[in-house]
Every structure is written in C-alpha cells, then in structure tokens.
C-alpha cells in the first residue's frame, strides 16, 4: 500500500532521515518508536507530504506522491492524520469540524455528511457533543473527535503522530481504546507512539528508529523479548 524508497529529509544542513526503505501492506498496524530526535515524526509526516522529502520516493497505492505531477491533495483525502496537539478547528463546532472537508471537497451531500458525522461521533463515544466547541472538551475528547474527523474522509490508511503524548494520563486510555477498535476493524495504521503497551498489544510490526534510519524491526513479541540492536536494548531498558 505504501512503498518508501531511499527516503531522505534534511532541514538545511541537518540530516533527519538518512535513506529509509520500507513497505507497509494493507491491513498492517505499524508502530514506530524511538528516542526523540530520531526522525520518527518526520518520517510519518513525509508519508502524506506534510514534510517535503529532499530525496527518495513514496508510492501510495501505486501512485508516486513525491512526483509533483500527481495531485497530493487528492491523495491526502485517502490518508487520515491525527496530530499530537489534536488541531481541531476552534471556530467550528464538533460536527462542523467533521463535516468540513467532505463538504468542501464535494465528496458528500449535506445530508450524507450529517449522517456520517453522527455515525462517527457514535463510534468514538461522543454522540452528545455534536454541537459543542473544541474548547469545551477535554483533551481526550478532542483527540477522539480528531480521529472522527480524519475517518470522515473514509481513508485507506490512518497516520497517528504521537496521539496520546499531549494528554493527561487518565485520558490516554480512552484514546487508545478507540485506536484499538479501529485496528480491530482492519484499518491500516501507522502510529508514532511512546505507548509500549499499545505497540505490543495492537501493532503487527514495530519499527525502531534511531538517528534517521530504521535500526531494527520485528513483530511485537520478538521485538520486545529479543532485541538485537544495542541502542534498542538501551532504549527498551529505559522505557519498559
């Protein structure tokens, strides 16, 4: 589904991604972990071109999205993204947040978008918040709405950029629960996270990034019980 070849990204003369090759299949749930500054967020943000790669190619469903000839806006409608800081639109109600993109991109009629928004609010467990504004909601609720907003576009893949890192501890669970349900429904997911428990129980594969490369990857059980890379061992000893 997503094929990454020799992906490089530098900010000025600071090299963040040093040639990444990776293939993500349909239905996979890939967790990306690693120390801060390892480039894991940059890697994720390159996947939908929020960061413009400085080298290499990214192919999504057979289309090279790094080629300027291809309409990135169209490709992004099939890639949902959830941010660390939620980034809900504060001037719009919860329902309007969810409906904005499907309506403005003319993918749904008003009635369809309304129906879809209510369905999604039901799904993330907040059906009574349709007319609330983001500021009236807790962080956990805001992040659940942000997930609903991304799902409104019926994406083929969901990208999560540290979705629980800005949350109070007691709210982490409710967001992870929604993500787990999403995974159980078969959604393809790429999740940059510090939640090792989540990575272990939900991911089908875990990537460890260090200094701009994928230093090690494995299926969760082996990844945690039998790490090979010394940096990964050190990292796990600190976070587990």
């Amino acid at each position: 589904m997503i094929d990454v070849k020799n992906l490089e990204k530098s900010f000025g003369d600071h090299f963040v991604l040093k040639g990444i090759n990776e293939h993500i299949n349909k239905g996979e749930k890939v967790a990306v972990i690693g120390p801060s500054g390892s480039g894991k967020s940059t890697f994720l943000r390159c996947l939908n071109l929020l960061e413009q790669p400085t080298g290499g190619t990214i192919t999504f469903e057979g289309v090279d999205i790094t080629d300027p000839q291809n309409d990135i806006n169209k490709m992004r409608t099939r890639m949902g993204m959830v941010f660390q800081q939620f980034n809900l639109f504060p001037h719009l109600s919860v329902k309007e947040n969810i409906k904005l993109a499907p309506l403005k991109l003319k993918l749904m009629t008003k009635a369809e978008a309304d129906k879809r928004a209510l369905e999604l609010l039901e799904r993330v467990g907040l059906p009574d918040k349709a007319d609330a504004y983001p500021k009236q909601l807790s962080g956990g609720q805001q992040q659940r709405i942000a997930i609903a907003r991304a799902l409104a576009m019926n994406p083929d893949v969901m990208l999560f950029d540290e979705p629980t890192s800005a949350l109070d501890p007691e709210m982490v669970g409710e967001v992870l629960e929604i993500m787990k349900e999403l995974a159980d429904d078969g959604m393809t997911m790429v999740v940059v996270t510090h939640e090792m428990g989540f990575a272990r129980s939900v991911a089908t594969r875990i990537l460890f990034m260090d200094e701009g490369v994928i230093a090690e990857q494995n299926e969760p059980e082996a990844f945690f019980t039998n790490p090979q890379n010394p940096r990964l061992r050190e990292f796990l000893s600190k976070v587990l």
Binding site: N48, L50, E51, Q52, T54, P68, N73, K74, M75, R76, T77, M79, G80, M81, F83, Q85, N87, L88, F89, P90, H91, L100, A101, K104, L105, Y133, K135, Q136, A146, R149, A150, M153
Partner: protein, 244 residues
Amino acid sequence: MAESWAWLVNQFEQTFITDNRWQYFAKGIVTTLEVTFLALILGVVIGVVIAVIRSAHDSQRGSKKGIGHVILAFFNAIAKLYLTVIRGTPSTVQLLIMWFIVFKWARDDMMVWVAAISFGINSGAYVAEIVRSGIMSIDLGQSEAGRSLGLNYTQTMGYIVIPQAIKNILPALGNELITLLKETSICGFIGLQDLTKGAMIVQSRTYAPFVPYLSIAVLYLALVLILSKLLSIFERRLRESDRR
C-alpha cells in the same frame, strides 16, 4: 457675556441657516461616509489577497523549483512593490495622481468612486500587513490539519485560517477604519465635497472660520465614537462565540 453670546448665535446662523448652508455639512457627511465604506471594502479585499500571497510565499518549504513557485515569486514581488510604493508616498499625492492622471477621463459625478478607489488602494497596503500578522498568529497545526484532510492551500486559508485570523485582528482593523475615515478629509484636494471641503466652502462665504471648523471637528469625533462603539459591540459578539 451677552455680547459674545449674541456673536456666537450670529455665527451659527451664518454658518448653518443662511442660504441653507447646513446642506454642505449634511451632504459632506454622506460623501465622507460613502468614500470611507467603499474604500474599506476595497481595502479589505486587496489586503487579504496581498496578505495571502505574501504568507504563501513566506511559508513555502523545501524545494523552490517548478512553475508554481515562479508564479508565486512573481506575485510576491508585485505585492512587495505595491506595499513599498503605497506606504512610501503620501495619500494626498496618490489621490491627486488618481484623479488628474490615472482617471483623467472620469466625469465629475464619478469623483466619489475615484476617491474610494484611491483610498481603498492606500488602505489595502496597511490592511495587508494587519491580515498577515493575523495569519501568522494562527498555529501552524491548523493549516496542517486542513491540508492533511485534502483541502488545498486556498481552501485551508479560506475556511480555517482567515476566519480565525479575522477575529484576532479585529481591533487593528477597527483602528484602520477610523484612520481611513479621518484621512478622507483630504478629498477637497480634487474638489470632492466631503465634510471638510463643505466647511471650507462655508468659511469662504462667511469669512468666519470659528464655527464651521469646530463643528466639523465635533462631527468627525461623533462619527469616530459611533464607529468605535459599533466595532466593540461586534467584537464582543465574536468573543462570546469563543466561550460557547
């Protein structure tokens, strides 16, 4: 005491009553408001367009190749030239150039429009920088969220960034409106009878400056106070929607 009172009453009579001179003031206020509001609309339109071009140019990251970047660089250069020229020359001079050179062919009954265009172009330069500061005040995550949903740059600006920016810059825009209203008092330079020109005409008939000029000062002040009041009501309404 009685003498000076009689003098003042006489002055008032000469300024406003004789030959129905109050009409100069009444029509003057109408003209002043017409020019101000037409210029305001034009100024906001120009200002938003220029601000979006400038922000789009400043916010592009990564490679600067491709035809899109060349076009953007071109428009950005024009925007910068516009800002430099308009903010670097007096509005009076701009007005004279508009009426006597650019719109040389215009009939006298089009004078309000020419003045409005001139002030609008002038105001647009200041509004552009105000709007740009508003755009920069919005967290980058907002436009990233919009783009990640598949909205293009213009849609993201129009539906997400600008509506939030407007709320933040409303006080500064209100200031600009008040400045604009007062600046239209130079309309007389091209012979347009706004409030100030009206008072000058009356003074030229009566040879008495006291009442006409103090009166228009009071009238301008009243207009400014009314506008400020309306703006603060509008602003409070927007803030209330924040606390919903």
